[in-house]
């Protein structure tokens, strides 16, 4: 452990209470930093030579085709997967160290009607679920309420979670990730399996949390468009590498063509949406499932082939 990490640990403990703005500024480490990183699963290299820096308070998206290693990046940042080469730090310390300071939302997983637990209890677990012993004193009731209010879930938080809609469940899960007042929020496809109005609403909610609570938000997304108005930074995975930067710099024909090594077009629709055309299929891709899957039909504007991109554009207009 370096002296710096001790300092940070102390700052984090002190920061557990209120009024940690000053400390947060004092610990001005990057929220996420990867330098020439390589990730492997087994012997297979998922990506290499990835360098990413995300500053505190930024709203960033991880994009790219299926199987390009987006979730792998989250696993690295959570400390569940060690890098094969290169270095990574999260909030200034090695991945896996700052557990309480990270809010995490895995790829969802829907609670079926048999899940008999209240939303408010689920949110509370985000606060004290890792503690041993009996919950003799009810700590942090107001923090649970605050998190519920922040995501607009107070009205249905006392119902059984299995009976709520996908959008309502997602809001409760975001509240659970937020209730420990993390400084970094990692979300894996938080917009997936939501309908379009809910995608827009949840994207706006996350952006608001990012700005108001000064939380760094890093999320994996299939479709950049619901997020586009809010994004500070994107990390675009493809062809075993990644490209990071401001969205208008990364999601361009030149940059993506260079990343993939094949010609790629980026179309701008009249309503300000971006359509990426010509992405090569990732090796793990099941190319035919989109034809029958209406779950993804709306999120497919990132378009993996010209034909599909064009038909999607028509469907949207």
């Amino acid at each position: 452990m370096s002296p710096g990490s001790h300092l940070l640990a102390r700052a984090r403990r002190a920061g557990d209470g209120d009024g940690d703005e000053g400390l947060r500024a004092a610990v001005a480490a990057d929220a996420v930093r990867l330098h020439r990183a390589q990730a492997r699963i087994g012997r297979e290299v998922v990506w290499s030579e990835v360098s990413v820096t995300i500053a505190p308070g930024e709203f960033a998206a991880i994009l790219g085709p299926n199987g390009s290693g987006k979730t792998t990046l989250l696993r690295v940042l959570l400390g569940e997967l060690a890098l094969a080469h290169g270095s990574a730090s999260v909030l200034g310390v090695p991945p896996g160290a700052p557990k309480g300071a990270i809010g995490y939302l895995p790829q969802r997983r829907h609670f079926d009607p048999g899940s008999r637990i209240r939303g408010v209890d689920l949110v509370r677990l985000g606060l004290d679920g890792a503690r041993w012993g009996l919950p003799l004193r009810r700590l942090g009731a107001e923090r649970v309420e605050e998190a519920l209010e922040l995501v607009g879930a107070s009205a249905y938080a006392r119902r059984s979670i299995g009976h709520l809609s996908g959008g309502e469940q997602q809001r409760l899960l975001i509240a659970q990730a937020l209730v420990s007042r993390p400084r970094l929020l990692l979300l894996d496809e938080p917009l997936d399996s939501l309908d379009l109005p809910n995608q827009t609403a949840v994207a706006a909610l996350l952006a608001r949390i990012c700005r108001e609570q000064q939380v760094t938000v890093l999320l994996v997304a299939h479709d950049v468009n619901p997020l586009l108005p809010y994004l500070d930074r994107v990390v675009y995975f493809g062809a075993g590498r990644a490209l990071a930067g401001a969205p208008r710099q990364v999601i361009t024909a030149e940059a993506l063509s260079r990343l993939y090594g094949v010609p790629i077009e980026v179309l701008h629709t009249a309503d300000g949406r971006l359509v990426v055309v010509g992405l090569p299929e990732a090796p793990a891709q099941h190319s035919d499932r989109h034809a029958h899957s209406d779950r993804r039909a709306h999120s497919d504007r990132r378009a993996q082939s010209d034909r599909r991109a064009q038909s999607d554009c028509h469907a949207d207009s």
């Binding site: 557990k99 899940s115 209240r118 677990l125 679920g129 659970q176």
Partner: protein, 307 residues
């Protein structure tokens, strides 16, 4: 067991106080009531987590380990309870370790495959021990379907120690276990040792099942291990209330079953199972009516109060 009813006389009277006096008249019945209460409390608490984690198949497998346990104890001349606990513990460890290692790669399907293999192997071992013994397994009925006669003070004491240990551990690991049961990925990311908890919980389940099987028998363990928790979870989605209700319902089922067996003289396992099942069916029906009030003629739909 008609002997019990002959002792007791004419069945339940309208006066519950005198019924209770009759019920506790004989020491064997006091032992049975104490053992039934201890077992119901343990099964209610552990079973609540088991139902939440959807591990009834593992629970079933662990309960069947009483068969090789009992026959092995017979072979070595040990007490049946020692055999129950030993085999349930070993099986829980095997399922926990092998299943945990598999779940990283193959998911839940692999876990249930491991559980099923353990179950088949355990039963086969039981049959082997029985044929090695070359004798007749006396009172196999009570092994399979339970008995409340002849429970000794020593047995009650053993059950109490096992129950106290089980409940103590549940109290310590309860919250992280709840977190891991509902939301494993998030719990792991927050530093909860989910795999160790999964194996540890199977051990607790093994202990609870081995204890319960001594009253309800191997085949009827679920009357106390599943029905009260499942009923409680139908009634309330609250955690603390649900656990308390699960335990209370288990004690109620156990007492009523024992009393009915005492006064009317048919096997206790049948009464306990019937009361537990009836309770579950009533809760299920009530739930359906609450959720779909339009099923009832002449009632307008009302909003779900949300428990």
């Amino acid at each position: 067991m008609p002997a019990a009813s002959a002792l007791a006389g004419a069945g339940l009277s309208p006066d519950p106080i005198s019924d209770l006096q009759q019920l506790t008249e004989y020491p064997f019945m006091v032992n049975a009531l104490e053992a039934g209460t201890i077992v119901a409390v343990t099964a209610g608490a552990v079973g609540w987590f088991m139902v939440l984690r959807r591990q009834t198949f593992a629970g079933h497998t662990l309960s069947l380990m009483a068969f090789p346990g009992a026959t092995f104890a017979l072979l070595l001349g040990l007490s049946a309870a020692a055999g129950y606990f030993a085999f349930a513990t070993v099986a829980a460890l095997v399922i926990g370790v092998a299943g945990g290692a598999q779940s990283d790669h193959g998911g839940r399907g692999q876990v249930s495959a491991v559980t099923g293999s353990v179950q088949a192997f355990g039963l086969a071992c039981g049959f082997l021990f029985l044929s090695l013994y070359r004798g007749v397994l006396a009172n196999y009925e009570s092994l399979l379907f339970g008995s409340f006669l002849g429970i000794t003070r020593a047995q009650v004491l053993t059950l109490a120690i096992v129950a106290a240990a089980t409940l103590g551990v549940i109290a310590v690991i309860g919250r992280p276990l709840l977190f891991a049961s509902i939301d494993e990925g998030v719990a792991r990311a927050r530093g909860v040792p989910t795999r160790a908890l999964a194996s540890g919980f199977l051990l607790l389940l093994g202990l609870a099942v081995a204890a319960t099987a001594q009253i309800t028998g191997v085949l009827l363990v679920f009357a106390l291990l599943v029905a009260p928790p499942a009923t409680a979870q139908l009634i309330t989605p609250r955690v603390g209330l649900g656990l308390a209700l699960s335990i209370a319902l288990g004690v109620f089922v156990s007492w009523l079953g024992l009393a009915l067996a005492y006064f009317y003289g048919y096997p206790v396992g049948f009464y306990i199972t019937t009361v537990a099942f009836a309770m579950y069916v009533i809760a299920r029906a009530a739930r359906a009516i609450v959720e779909h009030p339009t099923f009832l003629p002449g009632r307008a739909p009302v909003a779900d109060a949300g428990a």
